[in-house]
Symmetry: C2
Subunit: 125 residues, 2 copies
C-alpha cells in the first residue's frame, strides 16, 4: 500500500472537484475534462470517484435524478437540492445541528454520521 494519488487523471478529477461547488456527477466531470484529456473514458471517472470516496477525499452527497452527486468539501455541512433543476447548493448552519446528533435510537448500535438535505426551488427556477 503506497501513498497514492500519482495518476494524472485522478489528480485532475480531484482538483476539478476541489475547484467547484456544483457537486458534480460523473457525467459532468467526464464532459468537463474530456477537452483536456481526449482519451478520458467514463469508466475511469467512475472508478476514480469511487476510489476518492473510499479514501475519504470526497463524499457522496445524494442521488439526484438517478445520478450520484459528489462533494470534495469534507467538513460537515448540509445541502439544498432544487427539485426542478437538480442544482445542489451547500448549506452551512449554526452548529445547533450537532445537538440533533446521535440521540439514542432504538435498535441502533452506533451512529457515526448524518446527512441533512433540504428540498425546494432555487432562485434560477
Amino acid at each position: 500500500m503506497r501513498a497514492q494519488n500519482y495518476s494524472r487523471k485522478r489528480q485532475a478529477i480531484y482538483e476539478l472537484m476541489l475547484s467547484t461547488d456544483s457537486h458534480p456527477s460523473a457525467e459532468w466531470i467526464y464532459t468537463s475534462l474530456k477537452p483536456t484529456f481526449p482519451d478520458l473514458s467514463l469508466g475511469t471517472v467512475y472508478r476514480n470517484l469511487k476510489l476518492l470516496e473510499d479514501n475519504g477525499s470526497i463524499k457522496s452527497v445524494t442521488v439526484v435524478d438517478g445520478c450520484e452527486r459528489y462533494d470534495a468539501r469534507i467538513t460537515p455541512h448540509s445541502h439544498f437540492v432544487c427539485k426542478k433543476c437538480g442544482r445542489v447548493i451547500d448549506v452551512f448552519m449554526s452548529d445547533n445541528v450537532d445537538e440533533i446528533g446521535p440521540t439514542n435510537i432504538d435498535g441502533v448500535k452506533s451512529v457515526d454520521s448524518y446527512n441533512l438535505i433540504f428540498y425546494g426551488i432555487c432562485e434560477n427556477c
Copy 2:
C-alpha cells in the same frame, strides 16, 4: 380524474406498506405479495409505488444500495440507515428539528421539505 384506489393490487401494496415499518423496496413488496398474487409483476409494483408517491400516500425515504426505499408513514420524522445491512429505522426527534428548518439559504427561492438521515450500525450487525 376519479377518486381512486380501487385496484386490488394497489390496495394490497398500500396496505402492506402501512403494516410494516421496514421501509420496503419494490423488490421486497413484490416478493411479499407474490404468494398472494401469483400473477403479480414487478412492473406493477413499480408503477403503483410511483402512483402512491405522486398522490402523497407514501414517501421515498432514501436509496440504499441502489434500491429506492419507501415509507407509508407521512408524518415528519427522520431515519437511520445501517451501513452494513441496509436496514432503515424510524427516528423520532424532539421538535427542535423544526428549528433547523428553512433558514435563509443563498441562491434558494423556497424550501419546502427536508430529509434527515443518520448512518451507522444497527444492533443486529
